[in-house]
Symmetry: C2
Subunit: 163 residues, 2 copies
DNA sequence: CCTAAATCATTGAGAAAGTCAATGATTGGA
DNA sequence: TCCAATCATTGACTTTCTCAATGATTTAGG
């Protein structure tokens, strides 16, 4: 039996990365957040790609589907994207007929981004796909853990207090 | 008093983005994760930049400081970076004398990445800076909420079970 | 042994994403 | 009416991501 004090080459080869988890980095909340995010992002990307969507374009589409009629600046701020990235994103969605730029009646500088019927349909599909993927990614946690986690993330993410 | 049924232009102009939080996107765990991560990343970047570090290089440095003597493949897997990105990252740290590539005695293909004394010193500074920033970013949560959140994130991030 | 397949670090190229400054149209306030 | 601010857009530039290919080395099978 190998000496457990020093990790043997065999241990290092096996499952393998556990010893790095024991470093300070593995305790760092920012790192955990980044890693969890990377995994969830990868899971979502995978199920969205057959629909011709990326996580980014899906976020825009989903907000365009909502009744809130967001404009580009609001999307930019909410999604933390540069306004110029929004332009490209919306150009692409609009080119595919999923979304429309509607001039704001009250302010002609502003474009409101609205989903078309095709956009709504695709968004619905995308939503069931990502919800399934999300459920799988979060399956390591129990339902009330997930609920608690979401509450905490909402607070961190700067969501307004629940009414 | 304006009719609360329809958001008035005044409301939309004010704090402003609350109504987007009420969409399905604002309930999506993946979105919350992404947004919380973006904020924590921005906070860390800000305090690291005066030290000449980015979040990426700090992660590598912190792991190089640990006693675990990670090699490049392990760093790549743990940090979810392409091996080629590690090369560039380590080149830069090594050029600044913060880190050293040591040939692995047991396998000559492998480089172990170890921090120099200068690297340890800088990492210590960076650590207090990021810990302070992290504390500020997580201050909206109470201490035991933070502990719970970290547990959940560890599970999501694929950390091994605690012993 | 010896060869074949696999692994590690590296290079390089091209796509995607992020950052920033400048512009034209429009609005709102002094 | 004029001036500063705001919105969407463009363009340039940097950084990051993703992939395929390579040389050195190790491992496994015959």
């Amino acid at each position: 039996m190998p000496n457990p004090k020093q990790p043997t080459p065999a241990v290092r080869a096996a499952g393998g990365l556990d010893r790095l988890w024991r470093t300070s980095v593995g305790e760092d909340a920012a790192f955990l957040l980044a890693r969890a995010n990377a995994l969830s992002l990868a899971a979502a990307s995978e199920v969205l790609s057959p629909l011709g969507l990326k996580v980014r374009s899906y976020s825009v589409l989903a907000l365009a589907v909502s009744a809130e009629r967001p404009n580009q600046r609001e999307l930019s701020e909410f999604l933390r994207l540069d306004p110029s990235q929004l332009v490209a994103l919306i150009d692409e969605l609009e080119g595919r007929g999923l979304v429309r730029r509607e001039p704001d009646a009250a302010d002609r500088r502003v474009n409101v981004v609205v989903a078309t019927d095709a956009g709504r349909a695709l968004c619905a599909d995308a939503r069931v796909a990502t919800e399934r993927a999300e459920a799988a990614a979060f399956a390591v946690l129990g339902d009330d853990d997930i609920a608690r986690l979401k509450e905490h993330l909402r607070a961190l993410a700067g969501a307004p207090e629940a009414d």
